[in-house]
Amino acid sequence: MSLLDNIVLGSEKVPVVLDIGAAYTKCGFAGESCPRHILPSSVVTCVDGKEKVVKFIDYAGNSQELVKLLKRFIHNIFFKYLLVNPKDRRMVIVESVLCPNTFKNSLAKVIFQHFEIQSAMFAPGHLMGLYSLGLTTAMIVDCGYSEAIVLPFYETASLFNCCQVSNLAGKVINSHLEKLLLLYASITYGNETKPFAAERGPLTEDILEEIKVKACVSGHNPNYEDNASESTIKPLPAKPMKFHLGPSKVLTIPGEVRDKMLDAVFKPDCNDISLASMIIDCLLMCPIDIRKDLAASICVTGGCAAIPGFNWRLKEELTVLANSPRYKDELCVKTFKFYETVVHPNYTNWLGGSICGILENLPDRSISRETFLKAEYVPDWTHSRKRLRSVAQAIMKKVSGEKTPSLASVVSKIMTSSAKAKLPKVAINDDS
């Protein structure tokens, strides 16, 4: 930006808010009500002269390769999508509560060392979800692409010991959809119709995702037949849907498949865990006094919540499960209430980050570039900023002293201290 612009517009730089999800990345500026762009979390690379789309999720363990990909990706975000200079800018990075440290540290390395940003705030996604609702008590169910995490907050305190995690999210729905298509769908070439299993074409993840987005509904409750007394609403059967897979190649998806798609997260084949049972298990782990309040403030965020009728289906499943003999006597909760997200559910977490980024105490909550370059490590959210500083100081002391610490000793030190700090701290007003 030229000098003149700085004079005209003021030199203040709006922080950039970035939420790198497993499937899609949301990017934009703090204080805005929606992200500027939502783009796939992948990079197009050139391998042996051929283009290849690489997803970050596949590289979670390989930090060297990940740094290379992230460099390219963040470069695109700044210079192709947001069109701002990264240098000396503040950033808010919304991350999953279970984000692997390799990913986090690789990202920090890229933004601090390569792009030279001023500071970054690493904000846990669930907390940001709560932020975007303006609530203090809620049960945030983040159901995205690769994982579903249930995390309750009560009176502003996170109950991390009640956290429930599973893979029941978008990716599972996609693979379930593929199975269903092989069983029920048919394919038409001109006048000829065959079952889809016989004429199985290449169904990539992208095509499955597209079918899911267009066809997935929950109008017809599968519990209706089983427990007619529970649900008095008549089923709404979905109509079959036609998809063009190529020239004169039409895939027909029966109406029941459109409904059954969601069974992947609500009625998985192999084990007893479903999205509904995760929520109930989570409630059971919570103290009995607060269960009712939590059950009355469930909020589903993430891409899956955008499926029409997702909350409705979840509520039906919860009601059936709560009255089942397995949970009936223990749970003591009868009604479940749902919060509609203020914005489209797939960027609620981003919105929380956007609100955080505009507040004046952002610098206090962020890690500055200098701190990171000293420590070369981003604390987990179980650590405080003070801890990071003390770790950095400890490392610096050791380095400046005679003995150079082995990496293993430093890491083990951090690990043991982080284990101690793992218990969630409940903030109490010490004035009262």
């Binding site: 929606c34 210079f79 479940f336």
Partner: protein
């Protein structure tokens, strides 16, 4: 004379250049620093956004305006279905879409004779209406019921975000909470001071402040996730932007009934991050996103601008025969001079220390011509000069040089594949004199680049014979 074309791309053969940081990349992705005379990859370059322009109408936009318009062009529009550029189509008023408007003047004409005379003029000059149409997928702005516009650069409606107010409310709410939190912190600091310095005046104020603040903030507390603390507001009064329901909405019937062509795909939805419409009829024309013109500087020598292809001779693989294992194969390489002056160059095989892992492991031996060769200067007019006078002046050895035209030179290299399978890869050092790049500096006359050639897969023919 043999023609010099672009290399055999179909076989997957390609040329990579080495950056000074050992990274490999195509010449198109490399930058050349005029000052340190080295190639730099994208990571060794510091970028800076300089100005904005629209990729369709190529009009530049001042950064203040670009920021205000959220980096979107005010004139160019994209099709929401296929993101192709939309064109504005003009129609006369007697189109069926505007039939209703035409009826009214007709009635008037019966009563008033004056307007009858004026009417034909109007039709010619003013009564043109415009709508948008996609030349690729045939989408038009009439499909979604947008009214035709009076002006060609008409103000097309944009997607409105209904919940923007709620978000602003939220931000205001958290700002208030933050102020409370800060006031509370100030009191704490005050309290500590009183106890140490025993100041009567401040003590009185602080206790008064504390009491008044306490009544307001007793319900304010902090959300904590581990040690990550964020203040939220008074508990009885949540931000009040969201309500919980006992009956969440189920899939509406209109989604269950319609076909797949009436429901938007994911990428179509994500073009409108704010509302992500699920029905095709809710899609609006997209304003074209701007691009940024970047200034690129060398990270090592801050302040130097540089640009690539004008300084580095380009190596192209022109002809590759069937590459036979452990035999000499004659491969044709073409070298193109981008400089305005004639350049001497020499190719030599690249030898690296075997201990270190190499980014481009060689699987073949290359024997380039040992002689120093001359590339003539780039001359744009020579592209149209078909006389062969230029070639004769250089006295080229026909055993080394296949052809020469203007600033292009095709030479033979001998390749001996050392692996019986896989890609044939070899590296050469391209050394050329850079006198014309850095004038007045005699020492920096030779510039070296490492060029890596992938010549495609080893032929399997020798096994059969």
């Amino acid at each position: 004379m043999a023609t010099i074309g672009i290399g055999p791309l179909a076989t997957g053969a390609h040329v990579l250049y080495s950056c000074s940081c050992k990274e490999l990349g195509e010449l198109e992705r490399m930058y050349f620093c005029r000052h340190c005379l080295k190639l730099r990859c994208i990571d060794c370059v510091s970028n800076e956004v300089e100005s904005f322009f629209c990729p369709t109408c190529l009009e530049s936009m001042p950064s203040a305006e670009a920021r205000q318009k959220r980096n979107r062009c005010s004139n160019c529009l994209e099709c929401p279905l296929c993101t192709n550029t939309l064109s504005v189509i003009a129609t006369a008023t007697d189109e069926p879409a505007t039939l209703d408007n035409d009826k009214e003047p007709e009635i008037e004409q019966k009563n008033d004779t004056d307007s009858k005379e004026n009417h034909p003029d109007k039709e010619d000059s003013e009564d043109k209406l415009y709508y948008l149409s996609c030349g690729f997928c045939r989408w038009t702005s009439r499909d979604i019921g947008l009214p035709d516009q009076q002006q060609s650069s008409g103000k097309w409606p944009e997607v409105e975000f209904q919940n923007a107010n709620k978000v602003n409310e939220l931000i205001e709410y958290y700002r208030g909470v933050e102020q409370l939190e800060r006031a509370e912190k100030d009191i704490k600091i005050h309290k500590r001071r009183r106890s140490t310095y025993m100041s009567i005046g401040t003590g009185k104020i602080s206790s008064f402040q504390r009491r008044s603040m306490h009544s307001r903030t007793s319900n304010a507390s902090a959300i904590s996730l581990g040690s990550f603390q964020i203040a939220t507001g008074q508990k009885p009064k949540d931000a009040g932007v969201s309500q919980s329901t006992e009956d969440p909405k189920r899939t509406s019937e209109d989604i269950l009934e319609v076909g797949s062509e009436q429901i938007t795909g994911l990428m179509q939805r994500l073009c409108f991050p704010s509302c992500q419409p699920s029905k095709v009829k809710d899609l609006m024309p997209i304003r074209k996103h701007l691009l940024a013109k970047k200034s690129q500087r060398c990270k090592i020598l801050i302040g130097m601008y540089f640009i690539n292809r004008q300084y580095t001779p380009r190596v192209i693989i022109t002809q590759v025969p069937d590459l036979l294992f452990n035999q000499e194969n004659k491969v044709t390489l073409t070298i193109i001079n981008p400089l305005d002056a004639s350049v001497k160059f020499i190719l030599s095989p690249l030898t690296l220390n075997e201990d270190k892992p190499v980014p481009f492991p060689q699987t073949a031996e290359i024997i380039p011509p040992e002689k120093e060769l001359i590339l003539s200067a780039k001359d744009d007019s020579a592209e149209f000069d078909y006389s062969e006078t230029a070639a004769s002046t250089f006295n080229d050895d026909p055993r080394i040089v296949l052809a020469r035209r203007a600033n292009r030179l095709s030479i033979y290299c001998r390749i001996i594949p050392k692996k019986a399978f896989g890609h044939v890869k070899c590296s050469v050092v391209l050394k050329y004199d850079g006198k014309s790049i850095k004038k007045g500096d005699a020492e920096a006359s030779w510039i070296e680049h490492h060029v890596h050639l992938n010549l495609g897969i080893v032929s399997t023919k020798h096994k059969q014979t």
